[in-house]
């Protein structure tokens, strides 16, 4: 049976495409000012940028939680902003998302969190759901934690459980919102490697929003840099490492000042003092 959430006429090598996407939470403060982005099928692509540059907004637009003010967003050949609610929900069943702090359901155990999408969207018998959940948990190394509650997990474990939940329905696309935020170096390495391994083993397409340049350079296939609502640089990890672009250099070197200024826009300091005198 053909999959209703996938456009059969869509080029098979492109999973997600954004063309001239503009968005602002209100008309006076645009967050995205014309984003063009192509995410090939089966690839692991990072969207990097400073805090508040609109990275997470891009993920919410791809997932249809927000509608762009202008531009085109397609996922598996379907124009997301034009989808009816039922079509959007059908598409979302093929998309996994890992939220910044996991967003695990706190009133459920780890097991029930992962079983949640399976119980909601399939008629599978409990035994099969149990086996599937344990397989997903085993893939992230937490089969032994199935009976724990989210409050009993460390930050890294919660992120891995959320990862298992994101892949519960075997999605074609997984989006990661800051998957490395607040993790210790060991957990960070584990989560990074898991994302890469799952991407390759399951043949999924992955989009990571992050500002962790070192971990990203190790695992991703391609990087987009977003600043002030626009793509300011892009390239494969090797190209990024060798780049002389001032923004990329500031990002890679972690320099406090550069194209991204240290100071928030303000009147000159002397002028400010003179006004107070």
């Amino acid at each position: 049976m053909p999959d209703a959430s996938v456009d059969p006429t869509c080029p098979t090598d492109i999973a997600v495409s954004l063309r001239g996407v503009r968005y602002g939470y209100d008309r006076r403060r645009p967050i995205l000012k014309g984003i063009d982005m192509t995410i090939p099928r089966g690839k692991l692509v990072a969207i990097m940028g400073t805090s508040g540059s609109g990275k997470t907004t891009i993920l919410r637009l791809i997932g249809g939680q927000l509608r762009p003010q202008a531009g085109e967003i397609t996922v598996a050949g379907r124009e997301v902003p034009k989808l009816e609610r039922d079509e959007l929900f059908a598409l979302r069943r093929r998309i996994g998302m890992l939220f910044q702090f996991g967003a695990l359901f706190t009133d459920m155990t780890v097991f029930d969190n992962i079983a949640f999408p399976l119980r909601e969207h399939t008629e599978l018998p409990p035994d099969l759901i149990r086996d599937l959940v344990l397989m997903k948990l085993n893939a992230v190394g937490l089969r032994g934690a199935a009976r724990l509650r989210p409050s009993e997990l460390s930050g890294g474990m919660a992120r891995r459980v959320a990862l298992a939940r994101a892949i519960a329905l075997d999605p074609m696309l997984v989006m990661y919102d800051e998957p490395f935020a607040g993790l210790d170096p060991i957990s960070l390495g584990i989560v990074g490697q898991l994302i890469r391994r799952l991407n390759d083993a399951l043949g999924i397409t992955s989009v990571i929003v992050t500002h962790d340049i070192y971990e990203s350079l190790k695992i991703v296939d391609y990087i987009y840099f977003v600043s002030d609502g626009r793509i300011v640089a892009e390239g494969a990890p090797d190209v990024v490492r060798a780049s002389s672009d001032p923004f990329v250099r500031q990002f890679v070197d972690g320099a406090p000042d550069g194209p991204v200024p240290f100071h928030y826009p303000a009147t000159p300091l002397l002028e400010e003092f003179a006004r107070g005198a």
Binding site: G63, Q65, F89, A90, R92, R93, I95, M97, F99, Q100, F101, A103, L104, F105, T106, F116, P117, E120, H121
Partner: protein
């Protein structure tokens, strides 16, 4: 200068009114959305049963203890006044009518708003703050059907049951004080009560009140939680708004309902 102040004041009033009307409109659309999502919630009735347990069963202690004490105090106060007129055998009638008509629905409603309403708002608000509602949406599960509708119906079903228990315990408390402690005649206490309390006029109207209050508290609680700003401060003020708005709604609705229910029947 004075003109500026007037313009400033008018602008503030205008902005406040527009915000209030917008919010009311949003709340109405939200209510319709909850109703439209209710069949999906009913198909998995265990979700609503679970909320009846959380909103209803877990509120039992405060409702039962408060009912008992309200009944006991009512008996003491009522006996003191009735004795002045030599009508102390009507104590059962006084207590029963006060409880089933007014105090039961109103006090149980106020307690329900503080105990269960605030908990519902805080839970939904925190789910929003920790992106659990967004996660659900991204898993193609509508939070209105999965989270909001069961809590709304759970609250609506719990409230009349809690009110009935509140009134029952209140009458029992009055019996303990009036008959067992003060020594009013047992037969007079129950007999007068049975003769004077009418099922349709008194008990049924009390049940209607409790259903209306249950509706008001439940819809305010789920709306405030769903509409809370996703910050610690936002959830805290949403919880406060639930308790304040629910309490005021109960008192205002009680007055309106009482006017309609007991108008022109000589009471």
């Amino acid at each position: 200068m004075a003109l500026d102040a007037v313009a400033f004041g008018l602008r503030r009033i205008g902005r406040g009114t527009l915000n209030a009307v917008t919010r009311l409109g949003f709340a109405s659309r939200f209510f319709v959305a909850v109703l439209l999502n209710s069949p999906a919630a009913f198909r998995r009735i265990q979700l609503t049963l679970r909320e009846i347990y959380f909103a209803g069963a877990l509120s039992l202690v405060i409702i039962l203890v408060s009912g008992l004490f309200v009944g006991m105090v009512l008996a003491l106060q009522g006996y003191e006044v009735l004795t002045r007129y030599g009508a102390n055998e009507s104590l059962g009638v006084l207590v029963a009518l006060s409880l089933v008509r007014e105090l039961g629905p109103v006090v149980a409603g106020l307690l329900f708003a503080s105990r269960a309403g605030s908990a519902i708002t805080a839970e939904i608000g925190l789910m929003k703050t920790t992106e659990q509602l967004s996660a659900m949406e991204m898993m193609a599960v509508d939070p209105l059907a999965r989270v909001v509708a069961p809590r709304f119906w759970g609250g609506l079903v719990s409230m009349p049951l809690l009110t009935a228990l509140f009134s029952t315990l209140g009458i029992f408390g009055a019996y303990l004080v009036g008959v067992k402690l003060i020594g009013i005649d047992n037969g007079a206490f129950w007999g007068n009560m049975q003769a004077a309390v009418d099922f349709r006029r008194d008990i049924f109207n009390g049940i209607i009140k409790s259903v209306v209050f249950g509706f008001a508290v439940s819809i305010i609680a789920v709306f405030e939680g769903y509409d809370a700003r996703p910050t610690a401060e936002g959830v805290s003020s949403a919880t406060t708004r639930t308790v304040v708005a629910s309490s005021l709604a109960i008192l205002a609705l009680d007055f309106i309902l009482t006017v309609f229910m007991f108008r022109g029947i000589g009471v």
